[in-house]
Subunit: 347 residues, 3 copies
């Protein structure tokens, strides 16, 4: 098991210790559940009340939280980032595996780097290239002429269709499907003629793709996910979408065909973005919004989705909402009687 | 093929027969499609009109529906529950399989109970424990140090990542992913640093998890699904969520990180619940609602989501909705002229 | 590599050539990226500006776009349909595979047509029938007594549960799950009793089912997807739903139990349709609508979902929306003072 002194951890994250920097730390845990061998952190003031009662060996926190801390402290400018770096030391590591599991099928026309691992029940088709230190977990399928860049991880049961190019240091979670056909059909007298989907999918380096997320191949050009993009679970990315670098999208969001999302955007859960739009850089869109127009101003914040409310007042308001036409007409009539119809001046 | 007399079925469900209790029943079917060897049921008054024309041998119904029934009847207090119990007798059963299929891969460090079944193309990693009578269908992947409790069923192509603990009598449908990494990243100058996801997932007994539903592992503590919870298809449960016992969630719902949902809640399809909230016991939330605040009153009913309407009146109302600011100002001005500004009194 | 003269392509699609009909065409590409060996097309006036600068050998377009075209043209009544037909000539084809891959498991009680292909790591259970020219890609699971009609394609990692009947010429993308149990539970004193799901799933000919889409089996009768239906990714179809022929549904839509959707409907992304409804033929429903009532008029257009807007004006309107009750009361009071209460006449 990994173990570090508190002083070693402070040096790693550029912080300083208040208390005994020789304390031995063997793991990370929440304030509520930490044992005296573990380090915890306070990054959300919501949990400050737990600080005075934690049994942790030490707590990672910011200067301002020090007064409430009764155990050793590791003080840093950004406790959450420091926690992330320290927690990475304690990720359990399996024995490193290399080679091709005997229960995997790998085409004789695929090129697998000697340091890569292909797990049981994988199917690797002809023309595939798998880079150094790649780990392909159980049950993955990698279609013809696809490639997986160095140090990437396909956790298990991942589907990469043909002609998909994954960058380096990608992590792809189970059930993700990359390179399925885009939804392209031409209507011929009431029936649907399939439009061949001839493009591929390209992801940049350091991309993470969540469980059961789907990314369709392009119709002609490629669908592109730039470097550093983080996609949560159950996201749908349609054909020819382009997601800019370091954008993060939360679960169940969907982007329709040919839309370009900018860099460093934050797209919340359940958001739907229509097709053929442009979303500028640094845009934030709140949960379950439906975006029907391009958002051209960088850094803007968009929202929609009416927060849930108790049933009865909501229903009463809904009745009035359905009568808004009538209310507007009645207001106009009242104004007319009073001789104050501002519409005359404004419209 | 299973066959029972109507009298036997009545005893099983605690009901009584009107008609010949020696009638032989060989299956269940809808009122519209039942043959004279099958029993049907009436649990939804919407289908009452089919009662007089059914060819079923008998119908499970409540006392009040008897007058319309022209065939034998099995009268019970709750026809739907009685139907569920009777239908269970007629589920087709495959020959019970035990052991490990020769086309499965099972680590020599896994412990598989002798009565369990591991199907073809499964991958069972080191440290896994599989209990008595568990059936793991084709193509499943069970990661290191996970466990599956007695009598559970993984239908096929299910992914359990490492450190996932499934209770007894769980049913997990194809494509479900349990224990994928939570969506945890710290922003470091515009780029995302992965926060290790070190917790696991624990499910209680009698849990059902639908097709392509995803449940992320906790960041530090576990994500918890208590006993008797029923999750439909394509649901997303984020890290550190806690779902209380006997709660049911319909398809495409999503719960964000660290939210606690109470016991016996009913969450309808497409509902989104934000992170770090508390939902009390016995709460009902209607379809496609977005919940942004904690719901603390047990038994309350929440709704949102504007029902779809024909395009033209909706668009007209939307225009007015967008002018609500203006309408409010105009109303105030009218009131002012009339000297009746209730805002003066109320606000 | 396939190659055709422009004249050959024109004859294929019933169009005529303006320019040299002997030009050799070796592929298709977008206007922006086409090389002088490729044909492009103009089907969306949004891209007209690219017409004058394309390097394509020729462009498929309509008569009215001819004046802007500076290269050879293939003129047709519907350029998108013509493009789809021509693009189909250039789909890369793998060497046609037949037979059963040695790394597949096929029950001795399954019947696989001699021209069909079963890929590595597939599991085909007892009683399954696989028709002529069917291709079942890597990692698929086909449960007991299911069938796959001639010329269908299961791309890879597809799950067909038991008793599922797929028509001819279906395409099913990775991660799709057909025939999982419907979400049927009876509430017994606060706990859930499973209602056996005894029906199956039947799809007609020429159906396409997207990646990670789920279609539940019927409770008693079958869930039915009629011929020519096109389902995009991540769609949820509940038990006993009936989707009429040639209906298209976009990504992330969901249909609740026992609802019947008509023929040739267009259901946009993220739409939710409640259970036990009837949707007429040729109905259009726009993105993220929630449909709570039957839509009985054929050809009608329904919408909901409030388009996203910048955060501040939206929040301001929301405040007014929450006071609609109060506004209505104040308007009534104003009208009363003026003696013009139209409610007296109307309600």
């Amino acid at each position: 098991m990994a173990a570090y002194t508190l002083g070693e951890l402070a040096r790693l994250v550029g912080g300083h210790v208040i208390g005994d920097d020789c304390i031995c730390i063997e793991g990370v845990a929440t304030l509520a559940n930490a044992s005296p061998q573990q380090i915890s952190f306070l990054a959300n003031s919501r949990y400050q009340y737990q600080l005075s009662e934690t049994r942790a060996a030490a707590v990672i926190l910011s200067e301002s939280e020090l007064p409430q801390c009764r155990v050793a402290a590791l003080v840093t400018a950004n406790p959450y980032i420091s926690y992330a770096r320290i927690a990475a030391l304690f990720v359990p590591t399996s024995a490193k595996q290399q080679g091709i599991h005997p229960a995997a099928f790998v085409s004789s026309d695929a090129v697998i780097h000697e340091t890569a691992w292909v797990g049981p029940n994988c199917s690797i088709e002809a023309g595939v290239t798998v880079g150094a230190n790649v780990r392909i977990g159980p049950g993955c399928f990698v279609g013809e002429n696809s490639g997986v860049g160095a140090d990437s991880l396909l956790v298990g049961n991942v589907s990469l269709c043909h002609g998909v190019h994954i960058g380096c240091r990608n992590t792809i979670h189970p059930g993700a499907v990359i390179g399925s056909d885009g939804f392209g059909f031409a209507n011929v007298q009431g029936e649907w003629l399939k439009v061949p989907q001839l493009g591929g999918v390209v992801t940049g380096d350091d991309v993470e793709i969540g469980a059961n997320t789907t990314i369709d191949r392009g119709a002609l050009d490629d669908t592109v996910i730039e470097e550093g993009v983080k996609l949560d679970n159950q996201i749908q990315i349609a054909h020819n979408v382009h997601i800019g670098a370091h954008t993060a999208m939360a679960g169940c969001a969907g982007v329709s065909g040919s839309t370009r999302v900018g860099r460093r955007c934050a797209i919340a859960g359940g958001v739907g973005i229509a097709g053929h739009l442009e979303i500028a850089d640094d845009v934030t869109i709140t949960a379950m919004s439906l975006v029907l127009k391009s958002i051209r101003e960088p850094g803007s914040v968009y929202s929609s989705g009416i927060p849930a409310e108790p049933n009865r007042p909501w229903n009463r308001r809904l009745v009035h909402f359905r009568r808004l036409d009538e209310m507007a007409a009645r207001l106009k009539s009242v104004e007319h009687q009073l001789g104050t119809d501002i519409n005359k001046q404004e419209n």
